[in-house]
């Protein structure tokens, strides 16, 4: 896509807003439609858009596959870690009541981190799938 100036300029303009919108969807999930899964998909879509316009090699420099693998695992650790925090603070596993002095606020705080974990893992898995498919070596043309 090197020759398409319009596409390159628009992409550079749009991607920051896409990522910002992902954060909005992430944090607004409490009050309206949205949440970790959708936000993760939008973040991944921003990177995939970048890869489509500027090439896979550049995208791999921006978000290395090593980082993607860590993101996939990190989200699970965050999600499960909040549950373990419940045990450490004297409750049961996945007990969010004990995360704050006010039990309702504790639940909100617990779900906040759960959604954060979901966002990280979903973004990671989306990118891992994209890299796996896009990174396959092209077959030579059958002549």
């Amino acid at each position: 896509m090197k020759g398409y100036l319009v596409l390159r300029v628009i992409a550079k303009l749009v991607i920051p807003f896409a990522l910002l919108f992902a954060l909005y969807v992430q944090f607004h999930g409490d009050f309206g439609p949205g949440g970790g899964f959708q936000a993760g998909v939008i973040i991944a879509a921003g990177v995939i858009f970048y890869a489509l316009i500027f090439g896979l090699a550049n995208a791999r420099k921006l978000v290395p596959p090593r980082l993607v693998e860590i993101l996939v695992a990190l989200g699970v650790v965050i999600y499960g870690g909040v549950g373990v925090l419940g045990i450490l603070l004297g409750g049961n596993y996945l007990d969010y009541f004990v995360l704050s002095s006010d039990p309702v606020h504790g639940q909100e705080r617990g779900v906040f981190w759960v959604e954060a974990g979901v966002c990280v893992t979903v973004a990671g898995v989306m990118l891992a799938i994209f890299y796996a498919f896009a990174g396959r070596p092209r077959r030579p043309d059958p002549e």
């Binding site: 996939v72 695992a73 699970v76 650790v77 045990i87 049961n92 596993y93 996945l94």
Partner: protein, 493 residues
């Protein structure tokens, strides 16, 4: 203090250790994490079983939400026994795994391999520990997806098709199970197993509940490879890495058997399933078919892993046969054979893993004369074979003894004869191995091999020793199994 969280930790620790393996991205560190977690889980499981035996049912509220609304983890002697079996096999297999996995899996994938193993362990333990029907389905999917990955890691390219075949069959099974659970939820409005047990009898003759029983029976039977739903099993066991075959053969089908027992006896109730719907008659026919057909097919296999896979299908026949006698003795036989076959098959597949390290593909031809060059491994296979056949002083004898007792208790002397006859088929297929290993001239490759390293021999022999030990001292296995069987039958002796 920490002991009250054991039911949750049983699942959470391996679940969180899996992403940790991915993050450290180092083969040796991942192996150490998986090894430490496996042994820790054995400690947790024995603690849970001991408490369930002395203090009765342990109930744990996930997220402090009261059951039946919240998810409840519930441990009684039945699933306590399963937890110990799964984590024991896991711990032994992990100890064994390093040299074997180094040989069979590319080093760059080791951390992912161990992560998948931990997820599989977590899923299997989760199915056993949870008291929530939908939770069962979720853990079933976790363990199944991890198993597909592990099987596909086999060196032979056919591992991919074997894994794909299992994926299709496993998904059909899981779908049937979730349909069954959905129908139960539709009729009772609850997913908690203990709550279901109270509500199902009020609606038990409605058609959706009967359909739920049918869907659950077929779905779980696919997972436990009940004849004729076993077609995914031989290829999956034959082409998976040795360590995976040993772990999956000793645990996955056993956990599925536990599910069947849990739904039959706890949720639907013994009198409904055994007397009113006539499930035992169907199970009896299928179990007998499994014992004879699968054992006969095993005789004609040249690949030893495939042979033992067919033998597994036959042994599952013995396990379900115990259920079909519809008595507490039969159920004891089922539970005892569940443990005994897990240990026996674990031992045999680990020993085949030792041979695979030296001769790559373990076939009747490639192990000719191997008894001279790998004496310890081969002798272990012979002892494991004794246990499969049911020779006295091995665990196989104990479970067949109780099966025959259950048959005679019902006055079915013909069944006792059939059990003995099918054991003779096991003699035939194990004899082929003994003949090739001891009495044939060594194959050119078998002449040069040396004994497997101690790190593999010791764990494998630990399982062989367990086969003999529990064959002589049956207090632990039969004692707990009797108690669990009585619990399932509803307290009737």
């Amino acid at each position: 203090m920490i002991a009250i969280h054991f039911p949750a930790l049983q699942v959470v620790v391996p679940l969180l250790a899996a992403p940790l393996c991915v993050i450290v991205r180092n083969a040796r560190a991942a192996w150490l994490i998986a090894l430490a977690v496996s042994w820790a889980m054995l400690y947790v499981a024995t603690g849970l079983l001991a408490e369930a035996l002395s203090a009765g049912v342990i109930s744990y509220r996930l997220g402090s939400w009261a059951p039946p609304w919240g998810i409840e983890y519930r441990v009684d002697p039945v699933n306590g026994l399963l937890l110990v079996l799964v984590s024991f096999v896991g711990a032994v297999v992990m100890t064994f795994s390093r040299a074997s996995v180094d040989h069979e899996v590319p080093r760059s994938q080791h951390h992912l391999f161990y992560a998948a193993y931990l997820l599989c362990l977590s899923g299997l333990l989760g199915i056993a520990v949870t008291g929530d029907a939908f939770n069962i389905f979720v853990f079933l999917e976790i363990s199944s997806l991890a198993t597909y990955i592990l099987i596909a890691m086999g060196r032979d390219r056919r591992a991919l098709t074997a894994s794909y075949q299992y994926l299709i069959m496993g998904t059909i099974g899981a779908t049937f199970i979730v349909i069954g659970i959905g129908l139960l939820y539709l009729m009772t409005g609850t997913l908690n197993l203990a709550d279901l047990a109270q509500r199902v009898p009020q609606v038990e003759h409605t058609r959706p509940v009967l359909a739920a029983l049918a869907f659950l029976t077929v779905g779980i039977s696919l997972k436990l490879a009940l004849f004729p739903l076993h077609l995914w099993l031989p290829n999956a066991y034959a082409y998976a890495p040795s360590m995976v075959t040993a772990f999956v053969a000793a645990t996955a089908t056993k956990v599925a058997v536990y599910l069947l027992l849990r739904f039959f006896f706890t949720v639907f109730g013994a009198s409904f399933v055994l007397e009113q719907v006539q499930v035992p008659a169907i199970l009896l026919v299928l179990s007998l078919a499994a014992m004879f057909v699968a054992s006969t097919v095993a005789i004609y296999q040249d690949d030893l892993k495939r042979m033992l896979a067919y033998s597994s299908v036959a042994q599952i026949g013995y396990i379900t046969l115990g259920v079909s006698t519809a008595s507490a003795t039969g159920l004891t036989a089922t539970l005892v054979h569940l443990l005994n076959h897990g240990v026996t098959k674990g031992a045999l597949f680990l020993l085949l893993g030792c041979m695979a390290l030296r001769v790559d593909r373990v076939t009747i031809a490639s192990i000719r004369g191997i008894g001279r060059t790998m004496p310890l491994t081969t002798f272990g296979v012979v002892l494991g074979g004794f246990s499969l056949i049911g020779v006295p002083t091995t665990v196989g004898f104990v479970s067949k003894w109780y099966l025959v007792l259950a048959a005679l208790e019902r006055g079915w002397w013909w069944l006792a004869v059939l059990i003995l006859l099918s054991s003779l088929l096991a003699v035939v297929y194990m004899w082929r191995v003994v003949e090739a290993a001891y009495f044939k001239e060594p194959a050119p490759r078998a002449r040069k091999v040396t004994e497997a390293p101690l790190s593999m021999l010791l764990p494998a022999w630990a399982l062989v020793a367990a086969c003999i030990y529990f064959g002589l001292d049956t207090r632990l296995t039969v004692g707990v199994a009797t108690q669990a069987a009585q619990l399932l039958m509803g307290g009737t002796p």
